[in-house]
Amino acid sequence: MSARIIDVKSYLPKNVIDNKDLAKEFNRWDPDKIETKLGIRERRISDVNETAGDLAYLAAESVLHNYDRQKIDFLILCTQSPDFFLPTTACVLQERIGLRNNIGAYDYNLGCSGYVYGLAMAKSYINTGLANSVLLLTAETYTKHIHPKDLANRTIFGDGATATIIEKADKEHIFEFDFGTSGSGKNNLIVPNGGFRHPYAQNPELKYTDSEDIYSDNHLYMNGPEIFNFSIEAVPVTVNNCIEKNKTNIDNLDYVIFHQANKYMIEYLRKKIKIPKEKFHSDMMLTGNTVSSTIPIAIEQALNDKLIKRGSKVLLCGFGVGYSWGTTIIEL
């Protein structure tokens, strides 16, 4: 048995914050310079009462508009901002979307590598006969984790969700994977408080970065330079491993989509790995870094912009929080 991506759709919340809004609020950086360097002009922000579950629901409705939802027999949701500790957001969504009861549904907690892992799970369920049609959702509201005075992270991250249908196919369209994990980087991208290791603090100590950003242990902390160090070390290796496992080379690929972390980082990786500019996706201008949703959003963008089409061979590489990373090649 074999698996294939049938369709990909995204949903972005309505509220837009652009660089000029942030420049007015913080008055300490140049919005044009930031756009040029990071490749981000706008990001979408979820409402106070709008959750990852809500965004995932709307992305799912979008992809199911032209698909018989009764065919879905597995629902997987990648999120690090679930609606509840329990129950599982995917179970809540099964009812809300109106999927059958005799299906599996669960959440998994991964960030920027999450979409690649989701494809691996979907492929595994289909190829072992456990499912014929998998709905893979990614949804994050990272902006809720960020301290209002943390300009660096407010610049980078945006909220969003995606929905992908993966179905049984006559020939394989999701090829070999390469995975990696290193918990040694856990403290470099973390929300320390709120779990049971460190409960949410009522009056947390405020911390300051060298750039005058403010955060606390209740909020998201990202050590950007360390994440950059990790990425330039791990990504070239995993891309190379994946290419070798698939017995191919970059020339034989039609397109390459990396996790859209920020333009500076992925452009550096592109040059380091020697991927031609014309077959490399770099567009987070209107979304920012939407974590596990950046790769499926990029697939949707590239299809809409006719940069890829049905039959295109595309390398996907996700990397980040954990540290966790994964790479695969798909045929659309």
């Binding site: 990071l38 660096a152 060298d210 330079p225 160090n229 330039i232 980082m265 550096y268």
Partner: protein
Amino acid sequence: MNKNEFLNEIAIYCEFEDSSMTLETILKTIDGYDSLSVMSMIAFIDENFGLKFSAKQFQNLTDFNSLIDLIGKEKFDND
């Protein structure tokens, strides 16, 4: 490259716009110096010297001379 060429090249690469910068300029006093600047310096050093340093090592730096010490003086040509 020698130390002054290094200073010029890293300034262009990292878009440090202070023309009065010297090897003794304290990094944290450079206008607009932030985590993006550190990311750019990591990229520059990776590209030109094939070396990687932790964010903590960058945090402990004072001026460009301390960065040269970290990279290794022997990797630079004499002026």
